[in-house]
């Protein structure tokens, strides 16, 4: 059967199990969009307001489900607008396939209208990419793109398709099955045994896990291992939601703005069992000081992460689910009552410091001018009213760290955040992707800065009647940078005072959504009830103080000894 390249792409997408894609049309993808139109009953195209939003939506779709997210854009500006979204997916290991159109092969390299070498541009932020210049290679390339995106450590793959390849006719042989992920070589039994010996010998073991647990669906295996070895744990930003926040041995996120007890417990440990993490600078602080006191057992699916940032005593490459099952079988059951007692003391210390900082903040606010909300009040109000299966999405900045610290997460894949890239403007697109994928209510925590970057996606959310509640922590400043300026730049607030006149409630209304402003807990509760009682996006503009800090904070390049828990 002879099909056009454009139809071959759509047939192959269907074959790969893609039922939803996000995108924006343009001159060099008209053929692809025409082919999508013909299959619109089987594959849903979601038109966003901007290609960046589409890329973040495909990312959110993938994070919320574990499936490959798909995004489509035209050549030139369409393709370059995807880049931030692709980079966010790359840094956080999210499986995404991006399809771009390009000018016809004969026009490539001539700086034609809307021509960009997107393969060259996206090379450092994709797991792999392709330009397909021969229609006979198109179907297999798209299949290969899906296979690469989901194999091993997942990541984004871009396929660039010149217009003449989309129109060319070619025989198409359907494939009955989606491309299977490449099998991962199992960790050697010898190494598992060595790891078990290290764990058995440890008196103060500590688990530090990351996004790898979510990517390999190893939450249950992690808990079984932690129970048998009586090991407390903390996680990186990307690890959040892998285990319930309320799990007794879970101390929360660690790192620059991590929980005090988690960071302190790690430092006091004699063995850190690092699972699916890459020891980013935000997680470790000063790398030379970081692992002075403990041994590290590092397990990751990506061999290039082992010994990259931190040297491990034992590094094992393998799938975490398999490795954890075998490790759990190989270790002796253990109890560490003394260690637990020390950790309980750290937690009590943390609770005391948090209460103190809460009180300081309340005093500061009551001495101030207007009625404002604290992040404690905002997050607690949302978490007490949101259903258990709600998806929590954040933008980037103070609100992101507060949510990461405090929001009680219950199930894997219910916390979506741009961790590695830290892309402000990520949130609304990702929220749209998460809602499309799950149909579950989505709560987006954002700031007035980050929301301002891509708020045009409200148009998309309204068109979809997406149940997305947007919680803007509006403090009139770029709070995270302002906090650094306050602490390290003598309060020279260069470029961080927004002081804009934007009325986010009216913005919401202008887009066809609803919105309310809240400056106290009671109004916020009312707004949340209103949001829950209606369908479609709802924006709650929460008025906050510009100087509410994110604490604790381990200064950049600092260690556990330098953690700041209050700002005078």
């Amino acid at each position: 059967m002879k099909l056009s390249g454009a139809k071959i792409v759509v047939e192959t997408l269907l074959e790969q199990g893609c039922d939803t894609l996000f995108g924006y049309p343009g001159g060099q993808v008209i053929d692809l969009f025409d082919a999508l139109y013909l299959k619109r009953k089987q594959i849903r195209h979601i038109l966003t307001a901007h290609e960046q939003g589409a890329a973040h939506a495909a990312d959110g779709y993938a994070r919320a489900t574990g499936k490959v997210g798909v995004v489509i854009a035209t050549s030139g500006p369409g393709a370059t607008n995807l880049i931030t979204g692709i980079a966010a997916a790359y840094l956080d290991s999210v499986p995404v396939v991006a399809i771009t159109g390009n000018v016809p092969c004969s026009q490539i390299g001539r700086d034609s209208f809307q021509e960009v070498d997107i393969v060259g541009v996206s090379m450092p932020v994709t797991k792999h990419n392709f330009i397909v210049k021969d229609v006979s290679e198109l179907a297999d390339t798209v299949r290969e793109a899906f296979r690469i995106a989901k194999s091993g450590r997942p990541g984004p793959v871009l396929v660039d398709i010149p217009k003449d390849v989309q129109t060319a006719l070619c025989d198409f042989t359907p494939c009955s099955e989606p491309a299977a992920a490449e099998p991962v070589k199992a960790a050697s039994e010898h190494r598992i045994q060595r790891a078990a010996a290290l764990i058995d010998a440890a008196e103060r073991p500590y688990i530090y896990f990351g996004g790898g647990i979510i990517a390999s669906n190893a939450s249950a295996e992690l808990l079984a291992f932690a129970e048998k070895t009586d090991t407390p744990m903390g996680c990186s930003l990307m690890g959040l939601s892998a285990v319930p926040s309320s799990y007794p041995g879970f101390l929360g996120m660690q790192g620059m703005h991590g929980h005090f007890a988690a960071t302190a417990a790690e430092d006091a440990a004699d063995l850190v069992i690092a699972l699916g993490v890459r020891f980013s600078d935000r997680a470790t602080g000063q790398q030379e000081r970081f692992s002075q006191n403990f041994n590290i057992l590092h397990i990751d699916i990506d061999g290039a992460e082992l010994n990259k940032n931190i040297r491990a005593q034992l590094a094992i490459r393998g799938d975490l689910r398999d490795a954890l099952r075998r490790l759990t079988a190989a270790v002796q059951p253990a109890k560490h009552p003394e260690w637990r007692k020390r950790i309980a003391a750290m937690q009590a210390d943390e609770a005391r410091r948090t209460a103190q900082s809460h009180q300081l903040l309340t005093e500061h606010l009551s001495a101030g001018r207007q009625s404002v909300l604290t992040h404690f009040a905002v997050i607690d109000a949302v978490s007490s009213s949101a259903p258990d299966d709600a998806v929590i999405v954040t933008d980037v900045g103070q609100h992101q760290m507060w949510t990461a610290q405090r929001y009680p997460l219950k199930k894997p894949r219910t916390f979506l955040t741009s961790g590695g890239l830290g892309a402000m403007g990520y949130g609304l697109g990702a929220a749209i992707g998460a809602w499309t994928a799950t149909g579950k209510p989505v709560f987006l925590f954002t700031g007035d800065g980050g929301f301002g970057m891509n708020l045009t996606e409200l148009a998309t959310a309204v068109s979809l009647h997406a149940n997305i509640t947007v919680i803007i922590m509006n403090n009139g400043v770029l709070g995270m940078v302002r906090q650094w300026q306050r602490m390290f730049f003598r309060k020279r607030y260069s470029g961080t005072t927004l002081n804009r006149k934007t009325d986010f409630v009216r913005v919401a209304e202008a887009f066809g959504a609803k919105g309310l402003r809240a400056a106290d807990a009671e109004t916020l509760q009312k707004a949340l009830r209103k949001a829950a009682a209606q369908s479609g996006p709802f924006v709650i503009d929460c008025i906050m103080d510009p100087d509410e800090p994110v604490l604790p904070m381990r200064p950049p390049g600092g260690s556990v000894d330098d953690i700041i828990t209050e700002i005078k």
């Binding site: 393969v119 060259g120 090379m123 450092p124 797991k127 792999h128 330009i131 690469i148 990506d302 061999g303 290039a304 082992l306 010994n307 990259k308 040297r311």
Partner: protein, 168 residues
Amino acid sequence: MAKQYVIGVLVANISGVLSRVSGMFTRRGFNIDCLTVGETETAGVSRITVAFHGDEDIKERIVTQLEKLHDVKEVEVLDQHETVIRELLLIKIRNTAENRQDIMTAVEIFRSKIVDYSNSALVCELTGETSKIDAFIDLMKPYGIMEMCRTGIVAVERGENCLKTDMN
């Protein structure tokens, strides 16, 4: 401790592969001493030889990062004692009556070859290990090097060991 490593890399011979390999070095801040690329005995497979200075840690990171590239099929760090390493030099030297005989002598001793001869210039070809090439260039400097071009190294292991890929 920093020392020179030579690695052999088998890659799929497709457009862009050299960018991917050299881009990985640039992006991650690894310096390349030299890089050569050419076809191999297997159709569709090219071989890249890269030399770089670094410690054990850097070497390990370079190898694991190369292995992650989709078009890279095989990576091997070559043991320099068990490897034949060669480089080719073409060097153009000023041809004058007073220098000619000295140059000829050096050419003979180094087992170099004169591949072009004119009244004003000589082009010599020399193959050998990097140190030999360096020594020859040093020797030619006083006579006036007009231009030169060296290929960078290629390397294969001695004996039966081969760098192979199960591609194809």
